[in-house]
Symmetry: C2
Subunit: 130 residues, 2 copies
DNA sequence: ATAAAGGTTCCAGTCAGGGGAAGGTCAAGA
DNA sequence: TCTTGACCTTCCCCTGACTGGAACCTTTAT
């Protein structure tokens, strides 16, 4: 199977798949013409990678997850640890963004948004109250 | 004022300040010895930049915001537009992260996390249901 | 025969800095 | 006066996870 079909089936850009090969996440075979020859198992793995990336796992997380995925004797605790670490990071990011959102939405709602130059947003950014 | 003091007062790493000069966000003078010579107004601006970056504005947003900040005749609407665009992006990110969080926390709580190899997290990542 | 569509590699760029080397400058203490 | 250590300078490479583009090769359809 050529990269185009894999791209469609795994819903990943061809560039991304080539990149994943470059960093050793997938290892497709090669045809005599130099084209990558993907097996079903490669597609399967790329789908897995796409799902994991969409959930915000880093590439290194993905490397660990696919290694566990391919290890039939793995302990589920190993997978769970990666996932719950990631969950904690997601929670921290959400909290950060919510704090930003609160501050900014206060500012936006306090700004007239008209032609006059006085703007509470800029006034607030000016303060040294970090 | 040398970069070290500015770094302390603006609460930004010296590397960051040099970078901001490189991309034209600040333009400190130079002493005869080649050291950067910052004015109070530079510090003021760097504090502003630090605040804006902490609120997640991009560098280009910051460039626009400082231009408006320094333009005494600006319309507050211009500032408000930048800020509310940014607010929308923050909201989208929060929604994304919350969706990830929901999916992942379901998975984590359904995983035994023991020594056995069967793991619902991996099983779910395997599905093509993107 | 030719053109379009698909494949290949390689290079460079993104964003917002961080790390570290090699070297110049300054202030304080012996 | 010398030296030590803190501070400053530029320079270049590195990050993550790709993306864009150039130059070139192969396959397929007309």
């Amino acid at each position: 199977m050529n990269i185009g079909e894999v791209s469609t089936r795994a819903n990943l850009p061809a560039k991304t798949i080539r990149y994943y090969e470059e960093i050793g996440l997938v290892k497709p075979l090669r045809d005599t013409n130099g084209y990558r020859a993907f097996r079903e198992s490669d597609v399967h793995k790329l789908v897995f990678l796409g799902r994991a990336r969409a959930l915000g796992f880093t590439i290194e997380d993905c490397r660990a997850l696919t290694a566990l995925w391919e290890d039939k004797a793995r302990a589920s605790a190993d997978v769970r640890n990666i996932a719950s670490d990631h969950l904690i990071q997601i929670e921290a990011k959400i909290a950060d963004l919510q704090a930003m959102h609160e501050t900014l939405s206060h500012l936006v709602s306090s700004c007239a948004g008209d032609d006059r130059p006085d703007c509470p947003i800029l006034q607030s950014l000016e303060k040294v109250t970090r």
